[in-house]
């Protein structure tokens, strides 16, 4: 049984990390990061089987790929707090000579990152490749991917979605961050995604929803169900219904904070809504 108090404390601390990272450099993407905080915390601390030491090959462990790389603040915070690198390094987010580039990359050798992402739509393909190699290596572990909903407007995703179903890549769980927002506004206004569940199903995926995508218990139980669906011939898609900017009242339910940092006063307000739990970096 998961220690939800500890996970909740971690969620609040990660929110603080996200806000402080983007505030310091006055750039970055807090909205999507906050919306996926509970998912990342649950994934890295409750769901994935992970080896003690990071290796690029990740043999004998579950892998995670972030396709929508702009939500790097949440990825970096959760990786640091899971022990991949010192939490103090979050101080270097987006600074010159940092391993914490604006978008995640392997280029500077940051432990925990296995592919560069930022230019959207490439993560599912990469994850399929890693999943195929796991099969060739007779490694029974799972490959997890997170992509944005707006990101599914990129055509490469649908090549990948077609391939994975057509080739029974069933050791793959793709989670879609369904927050309905993108830079220019609501996805339904920018380019409607239609019925994603029906679309994934029509391509041959096993699809499920997690309606409470910002609720730790719902995420953990939902993702465990998703894991049970693996190994049965179909790739698995989880539609994670989230609220962009979750946990900071003035950032919620809007695309305004997709790629904008809070000013000093806004930071103070946001942090006051998320008092320190584990300690700031």
């Amino acid at each position: 049984m998961a220690d939800y108090k500890a996970l909740e404390d971690l969620v609040i601390q990660v929110r603080r990390d996200i806000l402080r990272q983007v505030h310091k450099v006055n750039s970055g993407h807090p909205g999507g990061s906050l919306g996926c905080t509970e998912f990342f915390v649950a994934l890295y601390n409750e769901l994935m089987e992970r080896n003690e030491n990071f290796t690029m090959d990740g043999i004998g462990e579950d892998l995670f790929f972030l396709s929508n790389g702009h939500i790097s603040p949440v990825f970096y915070s959760v990786l640091a707090r899971a022990g991949y690198f010192p939490v103090e390094e979050l101080n270097t987010f987006r600074l010159l000579n940092s391993r914490l580039q604006g978008h995640p990359t392997t280029h500077e050798g940051l432990p925990g990152v296995r592919i560069a992402s930022g230019s959207l739509g490439q993560g599912i393909s990469v994850s399929i490749g890693a999943a195929l190699t796991k099969k060739l290596n007779k490694d029974k572990h799972i490959v997890y991917t997170l992509c944005g909903d707006g990101e599914l407007q990129e055509g490469q995703n649908w090549e990948a979605i077609m391939y994975a179903a057509g080739n029974n890549v069933d050791n793959l769980i793709v989670t879609v961050d369904l927050n309905g927002q993108q830079i220019d506004g609501a996805t339904k206004n920018v380019l409607p995604l239609g019925n994603l569940k029906a679309k994934f199903e029509a391509f041959g995926w096993d699809v499920m929803d997690i309606e409470k995508g910002n609720d730790l218990k719902a995420i953990v139980s939902g993702m465990k169900k998703a894991k049970e669906k693996t190994g049965k011939g179909k790739p698995v898609c989880v539609l994670l219904h989230t609220v962009m900017g979750n946990g900071v009242d003035f950032m919620m339910h809007t695309h305004d904070w997709h790629g904008k940092a809070p000013n000093d006063q806004q930071l103070e307000t946001a942090l006051s809504q998320n008092p320190v739990t584990l300690g700031d970096y």
């Binding site: 560069a116 930022g118 230019s119 490749g129 796991k134 391939y163």
Partner: protein, 322 residues
Amino acid sequence: MKIVQMKKYTDTGKKDTRSGFGDGLTELGKKNKDVVALCADLTGSLKMDEFKENHPERFFQVGIAEANMIGIAAGMTIGGKIPFTGTFANFSTGRVYDQIRQSVAYSGKNVKICASHAGITLGEDGATHQILEDIGLMKMLPGMTVINTCDYNQTKAATIAIADYEGPVYLRFGRPKVANFTPADQNFQIGKAVQLQEGTDVTIIATGHLVWEALQAAETLNEKGITADVINIHTIKPLDDEAILKSVKKTGCVVTAEEHNFLGGLGESVARVLASYHPAPQEFVATQDTFGESGTPEQLMDKYGLNASAIVSAVQKVTARK
């Protein structure tokens, strides 16, 4: 007039370079269990059938979806596989530039992008399929090795050699049957130029299908009393600066020859070396910032000035500029 004794190169029978790739891949399949192959609905054209037949579990048909193929290949390296992707050069580069840039080159993945039907000698299909910009696209990517082989034997040797090299590689070859004249047992060294002829009047630096043409040109020139260093640059990046400079310091002028646009190709890479270390007159045998068109490979090479006679003319021009 001096006429010197030249090294003799024999065409052992015309063969396509893509078959060199296919046969190299077949050999790799037998000796390296980590080699996997991906193809975007052109298995026969890329000569990948034998690998597919021998190792169905290591062959991945991705359909007409090149972007996904590059992404999958990048992902497959995680866990130790060595993916070889196969499609036409146009669809291996221009169509998937961003996927190669981010998921392969910037991510430093050990993917071998193997591209057939490069250049104008693809022939009758016309300009939509005849990419003349791919060397430029690929050489601009940091960390990308760019190889353009000249015949069947060299393509086979290069295919085998790149599996042992850790890092992204673009391997460019073609469709037509051309002279096969390099040794079957050659030791292919990435980044190492091959000196084919020794001369003192001009340096001819050629890559791909133009290497054989350069040898023919050198013979013609010899009869006219002009002796040429002929250098086969199979690796455009990293470029063998040392071999180029050594030769040009001796001859004082250069002709570069390639089946590619003069913008972004081998010629520009050579010009960079000369401008930096040893300025010298240079002429470019290459397409002149134009698209191709339908025709037979021979007709096209003639019309676009990519053959031995074009090289001879360029040499006469460049030697006059010394």
